[in-house]
């Protein structure tokens, strides 16, 4: 399923909304989830899971081609932990 399939399904399930409105809503939801993670905020969707940001410390690396040392800066990584309900649902 892609985002546009999700929009299509929503517009079929919720008859009072047009497809265009569903698209705007779905985009609003994911855009604001992105912004929350950008702020370093945790997102908790009960029954689904939670999204957090993990920080990878800066470290020294090496260019595998030349063997030269390179410094790899600190990096933030989005992380998803599946909720109990969904974990059990997919494993059935």
């Amino acid at each position: 399923m892609t985002k546009s399939d999700l929009v299509q399904t929503l517009s079929e399930k919720i008859s009072t909304l047009t497809k265009k409105e569903c698209e705007v809503i779905v985009d609003t939801v994911f855009q604001n989830m992105r912004s929350a993670l950008h702020r370093g905020e945790k997102i908790e969707i009960r029954g689904f899971g939670s999204f957090t940001v993990r920080v990878r410390r800066a470290k020294e690396g090496r260019n595998p081609k030349t063997g030269e040392k390179v410094s790899i800066p600190e990096k933030r990584i989005p992380f998803f932990k599946v909720g109990k309900e969904l974990r059990e649902l997919v494993n059935r």
Binding site: K3, L6, M33, R34, R39, K42, E44, P78
Partner: protein, 95 residues
């Protein structure tokens, strides 16, 4: 951020919806995603990431408390692969 916060954001930013409608649609988004994943299908949200199902074979494990050998059963697990866009975005400097 919780689901209730997302409901509030949808209510404020998307015009013409009641609180109830905003709540219903946010619930329906996550319920639909759950149904799809339950049926074993992956979900690709461009600009956000992919929710992927992986089938794990049974493997040997150990009870860390007692040291007993146990069998970890075959299972299907859900993983999230963030999109390049999301990964780049959360590393951008805050405006």
């Amino acid at each position: 951020m919780t689901k209730a916060d997302l409901v509030e954001i949808v209510y404020e930013k998307v015009g013409g919806l009641s609180k109830k409608e905003s709540q219903d649609i946010v619930e329906t988004i996550f319920d639909t995603m759950k149904d799809i994943l339950k049926d074993g299908e992956k979900i690709k949200i461009s600009g956000f990431g992919n929710f992927i199902l992986r089938d794990k074979r049974p493997r040997k494990g150990r009870n860390p408390q007692t040291g007993d050998d146990i069998q970890i059963t075959a299972r299907r697990v859900l993983t999230f692969r963030p999109s390049q866009i999301l990964k780049a975005f959360i590393n951008e400097d805050k405006a």
